[in-house]
Each structure stands twice: as C-alpha cells, then as structure tokens.
Symmetry: C2
Subunit: 167 residues, 2 copies
DNA sequence: CAGATAGATTTCAATACGCAACTATTCTTT
DNA sequence: AAAGAATAGTTGCGTATTGAAATCTATCTG
C-alpha cells in the first residue's frame, strides 16, 4: 500500500545523491549541447555561434550566460577588438569532451551511419578509439555487469534486484 | 565579403555531416535523458518512471513515445498483467550507456563532488574506469591532440586552423 | 460486482522559444 | 572627424511547449 515500490524508493534515494541531474541542467538541452560542440570545434564568438548553429540571438545570449554561470565557458573581452567577446572553454567545459564524443560515436553507429568526417589523433592520423565502459582491469563491461555500491554502508544494488523483492 | 568567415563555413560544412544533431533530437533533452537513466537502472513501467522522476504524466507519455519511435525503448504488453506495459531498452538504447556514464563521471568530478553511490563491476566490486578519449594505441588524448579527417577527400582540419587563414 | 490500478489523454494557465527589429559600443573607412 | 559597418547583445510579440490536475478506458483484485 501507500504506493511506492521498493525499487522506486531505492532509485529515488540514489537519484537524490546522483550527480546527473545537475549535469543535465547545464548541458541537457539541445542548444547548450550544440554550443558546447561548437566550442570544442573552435568557435569563440557570438556571431560565430549564431551563424554556425543557426540559433536565435536571444536564445544564444541566454545559453551563453548560463554556460558561463555554470563554469563551462569563460567570457573575456578581446584585447585586440573591444567589440568582440571571446567565449572559451574552461577546464570543466573541456572535460565534457568524452560525453560529446561518446554521443557522436553512438549517433554514428546507431543513427547516422559512418560519417565521412572522423575524429582522429593528430599524431598518427588514425581515428580515435570507440569509448566503452571498462572495469579497472580493462575488461569491457555491459549493462548487466554493473552494480551500485554505497561507499558508506557497503550496500550493493543490482539492476533489477529490488523489483522482485517485495521487502 | 558576404560575411561568413572560413572557419564558420568549415564548421557548418562539418556540422551538416555530423551525427550529433540527430542524437541530440532523441536524448538531448532533460526528461528523455532522465528516462534513459531510469531505464538503465531497471525502471520499466510508466508509473515507475512517473513516481521515480517526478515527471508530469503527459510529458512522460510524450517522451516515452518519442523514445520508442526513436528506437531507444521498446514498448510491450506485460503478459502477466494486461494493464501494464513494459518499457525496455533496445540494443540501441543500451548502447547509450557510455554517454550516460561519461556525463555522470563529469558531474561527479566537476559539479557534485564524489557521490557515495558508485557504479562498480559486479565481478570485482571495484568502481568502473573513468571514461577517457584514447588513441588507437591507448594513449590518452586531449582536445588539442585531435583533428578532423575527411575520409573521402583526405582533407584534415585542426581546431583553430581556419581562424588564422583568412583565405 | 465494486473498487483499485495502469497507462494514458485532455484541459488550461504559465513558461519558453524563435523571429525580427532595435540599441549600444567599438572599430574602419574616407 | 564624420559616416558606415561590425559585434554583442536586448526588446516585443506571436506561437509552441510545459506542467499540474482532472478525466478516461481497460484490466485486475477483493
């Protein structure tokens, strides 16, 4: 009774301590993500983002501000031209590279088909490795190989564990 | 003249053939991403998602349909209970695991601080490896180590290459 | 048969989006 | 120095999306 099943409770409790929602606030939105992609590709100025992404100016302005507030981008005046502002990735923003590349690789494999433009290592010219989840020892891990572990209590939770246990 | 700088043109050309926008349509949205996380954590039913995420029912309904249409989730009737529908991840959906984990790891490192709940390998109980971009030979790659390569023409493009070349 | 449950759909107010026009600085050209 | 162009925004306004609550239908349980 009183409704909520144990796995939902377990999940919600975990979700509250999960860093994902905060991350999603910052870049879990179409334009923010495309701005990030642009920045990773070297775009730096308002007009570049605007023309490059085809985004409305007010929306762009809003997203850039939020991303600056969120610490992903830094806004600076161009010393060489007082009209220009330079938007550059912070370390925090650059650290999103694996997320963007992982999504790109997924899109390539499951939506788009191999793109003729590929991300490659400058040194060798060879394509970057496909990102995969791995164990500490390097074994590749699938969803079914995973569990949650609570470092304080030591409690563990497998994917469907709780849904059977009516506890 | 006529406005657009060469690096924006290069960016736009590349963007047109980029698989990211399509991927972003499907999961580049707060709720879609949270539903995906829920599904990866074993949520299967409408009411579980609703209660677990605190999402409005109409929005949930809309997103679930779009994710089914997009091939990320499959909707099936529960043979044991005709009222229930089972939403399960397709292979395409499961393949998003690295994206979700990468974002989670980013949030943990840059937003949230270490979470007390950690994703671990069932076999060893040890936390999963942090996802990083690597070259084919295993070297870790930073943003500045990357380039774009066009497989058809063989042309290459570095991050800021075009912004100096006023071509 | 009378609830209760699961998965939605409908209604409606509030918010967010997107386009176009406008503003304010700061170069650049003449 | 004045006129024009470039850069980075802001404002107004119509449209689309969201979110909360109520409603609906089919199925299951007591």
């Amino acid at each position: 009774m009183s409704g909520i099943e144990p796995d939902i409770e377990a999940f919600r409790a975990a979700a509250l301590r999960c860093p994902l929602p905060e991350a999603i606030e910052l870049i879990g939105e179409k334009w923010a993500f495309l701005i990030l992609r642009g920045a990773l590709n070297g775009l730096q100025h308002f007009e570049q983002f605007q023309a490059g992404l085809g985004i409305a100016r007010n929306i762009l302005s809003d997203r850039l501000s939020k991303m600056v507030d969120g610490g992903i981008l830094a806004r600076a005046s161009d010393p060489a031209d007082g009209r220009k502002k330079i938007y550059s990735l912070t370390d925090k923003g650059e650290a999103l590279l694996p997320v963007v590349v992982a999504l790109r690789q997924w899109g390539e494999e499951w939506c788009h088909g191999p793109s003729d433009i590929q991300l490659a290592d400058q040194q060798t010219g060879k394509p970057v490795k496909t990102l995969r989840l791995r164990a500490e020892d390097g074994r590749e891990l699938a969803l079914s190989d995973l569990m949650w572990i609570d470092r304080r209590t030591g409690a563990t939770l497998r994917r469907h564990q709780a849904s059977d246990a009516k506890l």
